[in-house]
Symmetry: C2
Subunit: 259 residues, 2 copies
Amino acid sequence: MTDSTSAAAPNGSVRRPVQLTPMQVPKASDVLADDLRERILRGEFPEGTALPPERELVAQTRMSRTTVREALRILEVQGLVQIRTGRAGGAFVQRPGEESIASTVSLLIRGRQVRLAALLETREAVEPACAQLAAKYRTDTDLEALDRANDAIAAEGTLAEFLQANVDWHVAVAVASHNELLTGFMGALSRAIYAATDNQGFIDASVRKTTLRAHRSITDAIRKRDAAAAVRRMTRHVHEYASAVLEVEDRTEIEVPGD
Amino acid sequence: MTDSTSAAAPNGSVRRPVQLTPMQVPKASDVLADDLRERILRGEFPEGTALPPERELVAQTRMSRTTVREALRILEVQGLVQIRTGRAGGAFVQRPGEESIASTVSLLIRGRQVRLAALLETREAVEPACAQLAAKYRTDTDLEALDRANDAIAAEGTLAEFLQANVDWHVAVAVASHNELLTGFMGALSRAIYAATDNQGFIDASVRKTTLRAHRSITDAIRKRDAAAAVRRMTRHVHEYASAVLEVEDRTEIEVPGD
DNA sequence: TGTTAGTTTGGGTACGACCAAAGGTGCGGT
DNA sequence: ACCGCACCTTTGGTCGTACCCAAACTAACA
């Protein structure tokens, strides 16, 4: 060990200067989790099927139950399985959904204290695109969801109800784009922006009216499959909203409720 | 228990018909994880500080070590702590970064078999916005990174090198926007698109040349803080790239390497 | 003085036992 | 024959203990 050349070992055999990498011993639970994850993503287990019971996995893998459980827990946190207790319980395979993106984004937003301005900037980037695609790909079901959200806004309920309906509409637009990535992003953004604008009561009757009109006009463009108009109006709508918010509360840090 | 009205208990006290909700017993490890996560996000522990050792947490929480470990593992998966072994080891607090978003998005993409077209659509939404903000907020350091990536493209290396340099440039644009959310999204998208276009060799010398020219021209707009030009050129560049890719490989499923 | 063999602190894994939840089963009553 | 309830079985959740391994510190030894 003191020198890197060959040396005679006490018993006369030759010690070769074996060079080995700094070593990295992956944790057993990670290995199992990686394997299972790979198989799940590969589609080896259809959605809804139950993985073998923990004790069964223990037998198969020769790992301890602790390790197996940790692996399953990892997959659960990543949204790849859902664990249920009870007799017919177990780890049920599921495809990761928008919630997993939304919660991760929430973590990033809170953890890094992303500025409200950055949130709004991002929305200004994403939503017009959603509107455009929605105009291209929307189904009648999508339109119904949009109309329903607009009706809820017109209902003039409490502030919370208004904000919720507002979020619902925006998410509905994203859903209508039939792009799961954009939908996931928008879901995350909406939640965060909702939380950020919740307490600050700059929303009065006129704001609601303006919002409703803008939504209806955009919904119309989507209905008519007028992508250009949808983009234009959405861009304007989101930009105005952003300006309004920033005017009231400039340079504010965000608070997002936990997932 | 057999009847829901009041009844005299054996000892003479009255049994009131208490009505209780269907009950929801959260898992112990989740409770701990939630608590720690909340504190971390609240900034109670500065980045880099070590949480108490597992055995210490066991003493404080009166939970078993298994439970404590599971909680820490959850936080690790969520990117909130990093666990190191050894004497000075432990769970070290860290803020979730772009990688956590990227890996989550990768899971979504693979798990839901998001179409390549959807990926490109999303990029067409996000990147122009990045370019715009980059033109507004770029620093000299950002420009250096952009130029470096462009030089790497000009170097005419292997396909892998070209693709990597390409990704680097796009990510550099996102970074220059100084918007952590957009950066995170772009990181995830780039990785996925990189993986999707890797094996299909539709990239020849002319494509490289075109790419380089587009990048240089966009970089220039960013350098001159010409937001409008940056948006316009980036929109065009990304759109052309998307068209080209889709022309070659239409309706293909994606493969993304694990995180 | 430098090397090396403990020593200490901390995470990683393994068992084994028992609790809790939930579906299934069978016995007894009607 | 049918219904209801007590009991059993399966499967995850928690606990406690013991032991191993990695890393950093310490002290003895050459």
